[in-house]
Symmetry: D2
Subunit: 328 residues, 4 copies
């Protein structure tokens, strides 16, 4: 059993905290949050204690810190925990400022830091990756990633979100890097505000298409919207020299009702907590692997910086209307 | 080119006549019907001539007769055409009276007679049969045949129909014989009148389940209803020692609409003319094979008698509430 | 929190014990098994204590007993626990001997006893039931239940299993009763030994089809095999006056690989622990509802007796080759 | 009955000629081809006569000309037939040279000219269009068009093809225009040579992704490859304010085989003649509508020029690595 502390008692904190509490190899000892009541409530429900940051950093029993604080605190908490000798599992993104993130490379570049790109831990995505690696469709040529949120966030979320690319597309950019097996050398992004004009007034977009290209000519399309109207659409198609391998959405149940109107299947899973529940648990268990046996993080600091650099480039491409060359 | 005559200008006659007219190896020369106007109208639309039975039997150019008259005339027309040296393609059933049908064996047993069990010519059913024959799922063990009509026939159809088993289930009984590769040795049928009480008052049923059993223990379920409410449901599942091979319904189009209610696919094909169009054309072309090269009929007189015997047994089982042993 | 004891540390005991240990409202205090080592090992892994039956019956803190002992001990353990004032969650079947089971009615008929017909707790099955109850396809007319095990059990399991109908079909018989909304008044079962001749030598069958009929004429087909060759096939189709509502299998992942051979989807879930994991957890949580608030068991003693009576009738029908009338 | 002449006896000529011969309202009178033997052979098989161009232009009985000559002759044949007062059905593209095509506007801009963008006549595509027009998913926001050829053409085809965008993508560009309901104002295309290096040596590409954007911000992705490895992949997804409506591939048969490897469905249709057979027949029948009642062509000269202009822009975008602004 490895003792861990959770930093951040918000929505993602609650999700990760519950997984830590359930993991047979982990013991969730502390919950830290500057909003003391939130920390106390979450700690209470998970059998942990509220604490302040200094306490957990000083406690030699704490082997790992799960950072689920607000995005602007991610880097600071990662640095503090790393400095105190703790392994870190940090929710994405590593930061919204690329320069600031890069500046942390000396401290974090080689640290045992797992970055929360949870798609890599999803059973379906992982099975797709295994199929590709096993050559199920020959050499990979192109990718198509669909990431459509069910409904737009409240406008209040937009200003501190980093914008669609850094907040949302970043998952797909990481997934593309992981599946393509090559770094993108160029990208082009175009985006619109079609869902909610308020998002546009706040300087953001809600609908985007991004094209990535690698040195060998592999192509990847990323499709994003903030509001699908039909659930949380999460699909990946990979095309290779010998065919196509793809993963599909999952539904809440398998009921199909056929009447004279046609055949109606139940909706796809509605949101990320339901769709990616297994991925978050597997991610936490991978953190236990890191604590227990020194496993290398499946997604680390460098992946976080690379995805952020791509998200920045998407934003720049969209704003300038031009493709962006990426330095490798 | 082989010249053929169509006997019967009703719904099935129109369907078979059009296929004969379109077949590149056949020439539809005559249409016969005691309702002269019907014969003239159909002949006119298909580039043929109306004629009476004697004319076509006497015309040495006529190589084949397509019998699509009313069921009670099937045998008589088959006998007349066979006696005149014509090959025959007769719509199912061969007759509704098993003894009467059996009595025609001396004349028809070895005649070039194709009986209209069109399922055997459906591309999906034929592909299923090839998969089974190729051992795709090992030795066949069980079958499940779904044959659900979209909507109940008008009550006026019932009294001369022969009843659900002889009129409708007979297709499935032939299909079961063809796919099982063994004759049933026992069957049990149970049926209800759930769709339209008028059908019950007329002494018939509208919903049935039939269980067949072969000597080696293979089992087959046949599922029938006169009214599905969702289209013309035509499915077959075959289970073998190594798995399951099945065919599914086809839809009018592939449109799927996903909204917050779920994902709605378009209806399955609505009726037998749309669902089995390809099978009827292939069946007519098989008749051309018989005329051209002496191909053996894929379904012949003996198959028609065997299926009728099974339909009789279904009816008896349902009426007595007991399984029926079949003599091989 | 309600304290419960687990009686039986075998495969089903381990499954139910883990769910009890995970349920937020339950505390698994004891594990009882005459094989002391098994009890100790399972108790240890679940944070409970091994104990003997007398201890748990005498402990006033124990509110409920989970009976997962060998089938021949189910009734005895249910009676003992009930006599001691405990609520009981008993794995199916209640017994293999119908007379013996019925004799326990005075003690168990009104007891708070949940019988482990887990299908009723499966999210897909439950969603199907809700759709039917909501009239999604009008008045129910017919049912088709597929329950195909992936691979035959070892022959050693057969002699004490009660045979295919009492051991395996019993789940479907309960499901049919639950979904039909009417008691069957007649059934017919036919069965073969096609999978493993050794099963036949032991007097059992491995492939069966059962037809149920209710007073109003509703029909139900149950399809069983001990070995599908393609996974654990669990499907239900319900046909009503206005259409069809069905649930389908679930797959381990959603990967589909398309090559020139066709499009290959991953296998359906392989076995009951994977397929019905959610149902077992929901069933245990329903037991917590019973303990906490006196909820009526969704499946109780009378359901266990009724399903056993139907299984007996299936066996009799198969052996006599005749339909069996059921007394209501 | 309207008499028509076919100009061009190659692969597309044979396809259109057969549809003209089968259409109940058309009579295929002549087949023209500078390769006299080809014209004679095709004419013979279709019940028509071989003829030279002057003959058909001079024959007052000829109401329409079907132009399926080599691409470089399309414009010339359209101009000649139009000048002779014939209605024209011309296979796509109108030409490979945008300036040359535009120069024909005075003669062809208002002529009764149907351009062979057959997707608009496909039953599935047409059903998708109807669903969009009926508001099935609210206001359209984005499109995803997949057009993947099964296998690369022989290299000898490349030099006169016009390149991937003008030869192949042009179908999708027309489809995008038709479905978007707005003209694209900007596009970006990126392409690779991943399938066959010989295609690259000939200056062409075989894999491309194109992004279109309309004035109101609607986005469209077009996905192309010359070789899918798994059949002729033809899908369209349309996303609106209230959901997603999509059409899927069709398969040769509905057989699914489940074994322990998984569930294998038969391949999707392998090529454009099988996939789009119904669309070509419907297109010819639409030409009969034009002849019979003066129906406006569903796709005309201006559509041919507009799609060619977009294909040119794709090519330019790919070659310059920059998005291209389109003048409306």
């Amino acid at each position: 059993m490895w003792s861990v502390a959770l930093i951040g008692a918000g929505r993602m904190g609650a999700l990760h905290g519950a997984n830590a509490a359930r993991d047979p190899r982990l013991r969730l000892k502390y919950v830290v949050d500057h909003r003391g009541e939130s920390a106390a409530a979450l700690a209470g429900s998970l059998g942990a204690r509220p604490a302040d940051l200094a306490t957990i950093l000083a406690d030699p029993e704490i082997a790992g810190a799960v950072v689920a604080s607000s995005t602007d605190m991610h880097l600071e908490h990662c640095l503090a925990a790393t400095a105190a000798g703790k392994a870190v599992f940090c929710e994405k993104p590593i930061d919204l400022d690329l320069d600031k993130a890069r500046a942390a490379a000396p401290q974090l570049g080689d640290a045992p830091l797992l970055l929360g790109f949870n798609r890599r831990f999803d059973p379906d995505v992982a099975a797709l990756k295994r199929a590709l690696d096993a050559g199920a469709v020959g050499a990979l040529e192109t990718l198509h990633i669909v990431n459509h949120d069910p409904a737009a966030p409240p406008p209040g979320f937009i200003p501190t979100s980093g914008g669609l690319f850094r907040d949302f597309t970043i998952h797909d950019l990481d997934l593309a890097r992981w599946l393509l097996g090559e770094e993108p050398v160029e990208l082009y992004a175009t985006a619109s505000c079609l869902v909610d004009p308020e998002i546009g007034r706040l300087g953001d977009v809600d609908t985007a298409r991004t094209l990535l290209r690698t040195a060998s000519g592999r192509l990847c399309v990323i499709s994003n919207t903030r509001r699908s109207g039909y659930g949380y659409d999460q699909r990946v198609e990979a095309y290779g020299a010998a065919g196509r391998v793809a993963i599909d959405n999952r539904r809440g149940d398998t009921v199909e009702t056929a009447t004279e109107e046609g055949a109606l299947r139940s909706s796809i899973l509605p949101d990320f907590p339901s769709r990616y529940a297994a991925s978050y648990a597997a991610e936490m268990d991978h953190f236990a692997d890191m604590l227990a046996g020194g496993a290398r993080p499946r997604a680390g600091f460098a992946d976080g910086v690379a995805a952020l650099a791509l998200a920045d480039a998407c934003d720049r491409s969209h704003r300038t209307g031009r493709p962006v060359r990426l330095q490798s």
